[in-house]
């Protein structure tokens, strides 16, 4: 597994470092907003942007049709999937730490290390990244970079359809739906307390990742390259 991860890092080194600096630049700018970016929003965007690392690996692999190279090496397809998940999580964790450190250290930043490096905030950023990976990776293993476009385009279309329906029916189902999720999360938080809630969230994320991993292994097993 380490060999596959090393291969991905060597082959994508320049692109990953460039991405880190471009995203880092944006995040520093965001942390320096005069009115102050809320720490939760900063965590959300850090998670979102650091998810681009693994996306870069997939898109570059597709660009050079290099999946055939990886799959010609003496390694099973399941190991390739497992390595990609571990690398994605590793890159996300490092990326988020990098993003938080930037905001904590940048002289122009309105955010402090004490605000950022709280388990709740780190977990929030990680949740965004994990849920993104869990959704995207099975599609990328089955369809390559087209899988990314498929998910993003489908999400856009579904969003447009949902909003149009709400608009046309003058219903407040969207608001009620979001509110009900908010209430459910709030009540769980109240019942479990901060530590219990964070543990439950971490367990939920692990379960989602595991399900996504199983789906990716199955999808990749039958992909023709």
């Amino acid at each position: 597994m380490l060999k596959v991860m090393m291969k991905d890092l060597i082959m994508n080194r320049t692109a990953l470092v460039a991405n880190l600096f471009i995203m880092g630049g944006f995040l520093v700018f965001m942390s320096s907003w005069e009115e102050g970016a809320p720490v939760g929003t900063y965590a959300f965007f850090s998670g979102l942007m650091m998810a681009f690392g693994p996306v870069i690996i997939v898109t570059r692999e597709d660009k050079f049709k290099a999946m055939a190279l990886g799959c010609s090496l003496p390694v099973t397809r399941e190991t390739i999937v497992r390595s990609r998940y571990v690398l994605a999580i590793g890159l996300a964790v490092l990326g988020i730490l990098f993003a938080f450190s930037l905001a904590a250290l940048a002289p122009t930043s309105e955010l402090s290390a004490a605000e950022l490096f709280r388990p709740k905030i780190v977990l929030r950023a990680l949740s965004v990244t994990t849920l993104l990976f869990a959704l995207l990776l099975p599609f990328t293993f089955r369809f390559g970079a087209f899988g990314l476009i498929l998910v993003l385009a489908t999400s856009q279309v579904l969003g447009i359809v949902a909003l149009t329906m709400v608009k046309l029916t003058r219903s407040s189902v969207d608001k009620r739906f979001v509110d009900s999720i908010g209430r459910a999360v709030g009540s769980l938080y109240a019942r479990l307390g901060p530590v219990g809630f964070d543990l439950l969230l971490a367990a939920f994320l692990a379960a989602v990742l595991l399900a996504s991993y199983g789906l990716s292994v199955w999808a990749f097993k039958w992909r023709d390259l």
Partner: protein
Amino acid sequence: MTEQALHLSGVRKTFKGFTLNGVSFSLPKGYVMGLVGPNGAGKTTIIKLIMNLIAPEAGEIRILGLDSRKQEAEARAQIGFVYDVMPFYADVSLRDTKRAMAPFYRKWNESLFQELASTFDLPLKKKVKKLSQGMRTKFALALALSHEAELLILDEPTTGLDPVFRRELLHGLSGLLQDEGKSVLFSTHITSDLERIADYVTFIRDGSILLTETREELREVWGLVRGDESSVSALDSKLWRGSRRTPHGMDVLTSDASAARRALGDTVVVERASFEDIVVLLEDALLDDALPDGEVHHA
């Protein structure tokens, strides 16, 4: 029983507009097999199936006795591969590409790689995109040969190579086999490559194997019957495998030169058929529907 480097049995794969139709053949250990056929015949599909890059719908592929799907990693550790278009990362240097790939092979021989890189004049610091097609093939060959693979799978390895290096490569492959008992499966359009090193020839067309025989059998048993049209036409149609008109009469490809000699005596000349004659005339015959459907000649 002869040890098999490669054994395909009833392998089937369907794409839109193309079916690889129950392909079966074997390559004994220590021999070279040339896989020949026109574009779109299924050569690359067979190679991708062997490498487990695509999944077969039916059949079995064994690489040095290992199941290509159930023991994919172990099987591929024994294979050195060169594809017609190598899927390297174009913006990564040769040195980094080697650094990324070498750790996968337990038997990686760094000094052999450096020696091959020097022989092939590979600019290791350059990015892959700066190389010509021929240089990319040389780099792929250096990688394939540096982990002491037991089986080399080469998809159109001589495409894009200059004639001098092509000759050197084939000579090198031939030497490698004699010295180290390795096996090679290579696909090609170039029949002169087959003449140089192939011990076995497998001819594929439209997803079906039409012929898989040893070089000796092709040389000794097959023949080219030459003469005027009326004399040559007297040959039993069962012995015909293909024909062409020439300025001097007619050439007929036969899969039994001795029988043709016995049947026609001195009225015709029966010569040894070159690989090119066999491939070209078989292909023409198929285009003209001269062969009954599905007729296959086995070794």
